[in-house]
């Protein structure tokens, strides 16, 4: 009987997480256009709003958090398709399912990489756009914090949708149809925090609810996504 | 009570009958669709079977 292979060179879970993240980042760096398109889309959508509703500063200031958040939601939908489809097409996803480590950790790595490439740039970009809408410094600060807490949730919930619609015709539209309704609480609390600070109310409750959603999503979505991927690969 | 008064619903006739009318319409459409789907499915089954019979006949 064959002895079981030795575990000398076995990769630890954190090693795997690091490997997946660095791989996705490296791939994105060699294909920068994809990341930049999403970011430009975000900037464009936000900039279109004043043109649509008129340049009154008071109204713009009131709308700003909502506009930024909706634009962030839409542009993260755009980038969702990329999350698994390239790996699905070239067979890497098959190999990932055969990884002798927890699939959830692998998926978590991909989600984090996706966030670094979509949520993080949006978050860094948001203050500049907020200035276009004449937001106060304090409001900008809260906006960034709310995006920091909220955009990872978008990536996580989005991952489930992306995994379920893997390889389907019309997957791009379908994924938005599935994911957008599920993201409504994030939108509500995200914009709520910014609105609260501009109207002088306390913001802690909004942000802590957002944090609670983040923890909840962090606990379940990698696992659910892994399950969805198995279903989609069958 | 006369029927004209009844249908007027004290001025709210449009809203009340609009609700019930549309609901009725939706129920009827759904029932028709379910029946239609059943007919289509049965028809496909028959076609499938006829095609198989013909194949058996020729081979």
């Amino acid at each position: 009987m064959n002895p079981k292979p030795d575990n000398k060179n076995r990769l630890s879970l954190f090693g795997l997480l690091g490997l997946v993240i660095s791989r996705d980042l490296m791939l994105a760096m060699r294909r920068r256009a994809d990341v930049l398109t999403t970011l430009i889309f975000f900037v464009m959508v936000v900039s279109l709003f004043p043109l649509g509703v008129g340049p009154e500063v008071d109204m713009l200031r009131k709308m700003a958090p909502g506009v930024v958040w909706v634009a962030a939601l839409l542009s993260s939908m755009l980038s969702l398709n990329r999350m698994f489809s390239a790996d699905y097409i070239d067979g890497t996803l098959e190999q990932m399912l055969l990884a002798p480590q927890s699939m959830s950790v692998l998926v978590l790595g991909k989600i984090l990489a996706h966030w670094m490439l979509s949520g993080l740039p949006l978050m860094l970009m948001a203050p500049v756009l907020g200035l276009q809408f004449d937001m106060s410094g304090q409001a900008l600060w809260v906006l960034v914090v709310s995006l920091l807490l909220g955009t990872p949730i978008l990536s996580m919930v989005g991952a489930v949708g992306a995994a379920l619609t893997l390889g389907l015709r019309g997957g791009g539209v379908l994924v938005s149809l599935l994911v957008l309704p599920l993201c409504i609480p994030v939108l509500i609390f995200g914009t709520g925090a910014v609105e609260a600070v501009t109207s002088g109310m306390e913001i802690a409750s909004h942000l802590s609810l957002l944090g609670a959603l983040l923890v909840l999503a962090f606990a379940f979505t990698p696992w659910v996504t892994a399950m969805a991927l198995r279903i989609s690969m069958e | 009570m006369n029927w004209g008064e009844f249908f007027a619903m004290k001025g709210y006739g449009f809203y009340v009958w609009g609700s019930y009318g549309v609901a009725l319409l939706i129920f009827i459409i759904e029932i028709v669709l379910v029946r239609h789907k059943r007919n289509i499915t049965l028809q496909q089954l028959r076609l499938l079977r006829d095609a198989e019979k013909e194949e058996e006949g020729t081979t």
Partner: protein, 245 residues
């Protein structure tokens, strides 16, 4: 008496059973609708505040309850199908989805027609209405996902996962919308605490049972077509008298 329940979970037996049961739900449903609406329109008195417009309630409330209830039942069926790999429960889930979406739509429609004369507007961003709208979106998502996957097994499993996630999310969405709403404007929509007349309750309850029976009848009828479609290559379908030309 020992009944072999597993026997009824075989599609071939259930096809027959559903055919037998459907009329037993369909006709009582029609009768109950008639009775409920008779009580609602002729027995129940005119409301002091809302005049005759309140009579929409006999349809609106049962439709709203049904839309949520059907979603839960659908998610349960889907979950059973996913966990125990029983084909029939997945088929039941997909048979229920369109009916649930219809009830959600009726609920929104009647809500709008009720809102206009009462609050002067077709739509308010109230927690209840908004959640109902999102529920309709969730139904659309379920149906769309199921429809766009060709392999029925994968379609069942993928949409089951979606239905479960949706049912976890519905309460979160409801409370977040409610909170958002109270922060914004204070709830403009309040069901004033007028004690409901007994006849009103009876009418509403009767229509609710009628809707329930209707949903069961339609779902059973629909699941029969789904069973035939999925099992078309089996021997028992080939031997069905109605499939003979």
């Amino acid at each position: 008496m020992a009944i072999n329940w597993f026997k009824y979970s075989a599609p071939s037996t259930f096809y027959w059973l559903a055919g037998k049961l459907a009329p037993w739900f369909a006709w009582p449903s029609a009768v109950l609708f008639a009775v409920g609406l008779y009580i609602g329109f002729f027995v129940a008195p005119t409301d002091a505040q809302q005049s005759e417009a309140y009579r929409i309630i006999f349809l609106h409330v049962p439709a709203s309850i049904m839309s949520m209830f059907i979603y839960l039942v659908m998610a349960c069926y889907a979950a059973v199908g996913l966990i125990f790999n029983t084909r029939l429960s997945s088929m039941m889930a997909s048979a229920l989805a369109p009916t649930g979406a219809l009830f959600a739509f009726i609920s929104l429609w009647t809500g709008a027609l009720w809102g206009k004369p009462m609050w002067g507007t077709w739509w308010v961003w109230d927690a209840r209405l908004t959640s109902e709208l999102i529920l309709l979106f969730l139904y659309f998502g379920f149906i769309a996902l199921h429809a766009s996957i060709d392999d029925p097994r994968r379609a069942d499993r993928a949409s089951a996962l979606l239905a479960i996630i949706g049912s976890v999310n519905v309460p979160i969405i409801y409370f977040s919308v409610k909170w958002w709403n109270t922060l914004h404007q204070g709830s403009t929509v309040k069901f004033t605490g007028t004690s409901m007349h007994a006849a009103m309750q009876q009418a509403m309850f009767t229509v609710l049972v009628a809707c329930w029976f209707y949903a069961i009848a339609v779902a059973l009828a629909r699941v029969r077509s789904i069973i035939l479609e999925r099992e078309r290559n089996t021997q028992w379908v080939a031997e069905l008298p109605e499939a003979r030309s």
